[in-house]
Amino acid sequence: MATEEEIAVKEPLDLIRLSLDERIYVKLRSDRELRGKLHAYDQHLNMILGDVEEVVTSVEIDDETYEEIVRTTRRTIPYLFVRGDGVILVSPPLRTV
């Protein structure tokens, strides 16, 4: 039975509960980002995501011109467990216009 407990949003983790079964954006340490469907999480922000795209960003410096070259590496993973200690933030996916 639906109770007030299920619907009440009291603390930040409750906000994440609203995103269950929805696509989310996760920023991780080491310049990594994930976009995927949130299937499970806990208080440590350990998560299981589905249909995930991982984007790894790296900056190379050209030996001669010293310009910064920003590269991104992408891969897709069907189901992924993410350890919570690497998570920086969780959000609904950002819309790029």
């Binding site: 407990e5 299920e6 983790l13 409750d14 509960r17 269950l20 079964d21 080491s30 299937h39 499970a40 999480y41 806990d42 208080q43 350990n46 299981i48 589905g50 993973i77 069907p78 189901y79 992924l80 467990f81 993410v82 350890r83 200690d85 690497g86």
Partner: protein, 93 residues
């Protein structure tokens, strides 16, 4: 305890554990504990040319804190059960 229970159900399945040092190890999940320490058997390093450190290693214990990801087989994920368990866990805290 949610993910501890989940991984206990996965024992016997083949997974790929990606560590924080970028090493990726594929193997059969042998056991897991409350810290999400992992024991794998029949292990192979994913990019063996790049990481020849463990060429002859077939069994290993991985400290939970060094894990970045565990890549799961699609048949090991029951979405409905995970959603229900998450809602129960979230409500209990």
């Amino acid at each position: 305890m949610l993910f501890f229970s989940y991984f206990k159900e996965l024992v016997g399945k083949e997974v790929t554990v990606e560590l924080k040092n970028d090493l990726a190890i594929r193997g059969t999940l042998l056991s897991v504990d409350q810290y999400l320490n992992i024991k794998l058997e029949n292990t192979r390093v994913v990019d063996q040319d790049k990481y020849p450190h463990m060429l002859s290693v077939r069994n290993c214990f991985i400290r939970g804190s060094v894990v970045r990801y565990v890549l799961l087989p699609p048949d090991a994920v029951d979405i409905d059960i995970l959603h229900d368990a998450t809602r129960r866990e979230a409500r209990g805290n």
